[in-house]
């Protein structure tokens, strides 16, 4: 039965003909098609029925299954939401960011595919900083405490987050980890994300920069295959460069591909084994730390 005028099933006409299956629902109609209802004793009334509104600034009362709206009558209704799906994560990320800036903490989110050498480079970095820079590390992996144990062996505090089935760290996880690490003012926080070039691109952790690692044992076209990540990063570390003489890898092409996706990305060629590029990487970190602590004192 029509929820508005009470006309029965079988009286509905579509283009002058009876439709096949019961009452016509608005969503089964393409925009522009018309339904004809026959109201009791008044002949045919043309009642245009539209598909649900697709325009954000339209409040379409004709979009319910009844195809119309009557005050006080029960029918399904449309609820405007207009909410960013990642809003919750972004709220947590903003909270983390405020925490970092009020304490002058320089936070980096290290991302890459599995096995590109993130942990090895972190161990080298921490050793090279040699206690001159207060720092802490958050390690993200699906399982095991192995990476955090490698970091702790250098003497730096490290906390492991196991995401279980999750494929990325989110801002809430990092916020909880920060609370347990007792971060010092003007310190460096290195967050090693789960090895994955897809999902971590979409989840802001509140970091100052995403740093993407890309090893020379991968393909030169990796930035083109995973553009979101290379777009989201501010710095690319081309790692394992000591292996270049033994490979066919074209480092210039790899960098050109990264710049094609992100013209502003900075690139440093590094090797944790030979030490190539480590000084430049350390200078980049120290410059970031200095800026963060200046911003804390002179907000």
């Amino acid at each position: 039965m029509c929820t508005t005028c009470g006309c029965g099933k079988g009286q509905t006409l579509v283009g002058g003909r009876r439709p096949g299956g019961g009452h016509a629902f608005a969503r089964q109609h393409k925009p522009g098609k018309e339904l004809r209802y026959r109201a009791p004793e008044e002949g045919v009334i043309r009642a245009p029925v539209r598909a649900p509104a697709l325009f954000p600034d339209t409040l379409d009362f004709g979009a319910g299954p009844a195809g119309t709206h009557a005050p006080g009558m029960s029918q399904t209704r449309m609820v405007k939401i207009e909410r960013d799906i990642l809003a919750k994560n972004n709220d947590y990320a903003d909270e983390n960011r405020r925490y970092f800036s009020s304490r002058g903490i320089f936070a980096l989110n290290l991302v890459s595919s599995p096995g590109s050498g993130k942990t090895t480079l972190l161990v080298k970095t921490i050793t090279a900083l040699n206690g001159m820079q207060p720092l802490a590390v958050i390690e993200g992996d699906q399982q095991t405490d192995n990476d955090a144990a490698r970091i702790r062996a250098t003497g730096a505090p490290a906390l492991q987050i196991n995401t279980g089935k999750g494929c990325h760290l989110d801002a809430h996880m990092v916020g909880q980890a920060m609370g347990r690490l007792a971060l010092k003012n003007d310190s460096l926080l290195l967050i090693e994300n789960v090895g994955n070039l897809v999902c971590p691109a979409g989840f802001d952790l509140g970091e100052a920069h995403k740093v993407v690692m890309f090893s020379v044992t991968e393909g030169e076209d990796k930035p083109l295959k995973y553009p979101d990540m290379f777009r989201a990063a501010d710095l690319m570390l081309l790692s394992k460069c000591d292996l270049l003489p033994h490979l066919d890898f074209d480092a210039d092409l790899a960098m050109a591909n990264a710049r094609r996706v992100n013209p502003d990305i900075q690139v440093i060629r590094v090797s944790a084994t030979s030490g190539e590029g480590l000084d430049e990487w350390l200078e980049w970190i120290k410059a970031g730390c200095r800026l963060c602590s200046i911003a804390r004192v002179h907000p």
């Binding site: 649900p52 509104a53 954000p56 979009a63």
Partner: protein, 113 residues
């Protein structure tokens, strides 16, 4: 895997709104997913069906509105439609394109009762 997190966030938004708006069942969920948002629509549908079990969105239909990717070409100084992040400007061929739209993911509307 990533789509599961997104589906869970969508369900959370639906449940939060249900408390505020007072509805008991969701029939259709209208999502706006940008072409450059990096979300696979089919995978999102599958994940949403899984996370919506035993919730007010059980059997809810997902309507995904795909919005076009937009890039600002720094050479031409104007917006251009792009389908990927590494695409050159269709007019001048420059790669200096800044994505200005089509990377959003939003819950736009719900049909509820």
């Amino acid at each position: 895997m990533h789509e599961i997190s997104i589906a869970e966030s969508v369900l959370q938004i639906i449940e939060d709104t249900a408390r505020a708006e007072g509805y008991a069942r969701v029939k259709v969920v209208w999502l706006e997913i940008g072409q450059l948002a990096g979300v696979e629509a089919e995978s999102l549908r599958f994940c949403f069906d899984v996370v919506a079990r035993d919730s007010i969105a059980l059997d809810a239909r997902l309507e995904i509105i795909e919005t076009a990717g937009l890039g600002w070409c720094m050479e031409c100084a104007c917006n251009r439609v792009v389908t990927s992040r590494y695409e050159p400007c269709p007019d001048c061929g420059s790669f200096r394109m800044e994505v200005t739209g089509g990377d959003e993911m939003r819950v736009r509307e719900l049909e509820v009762e």
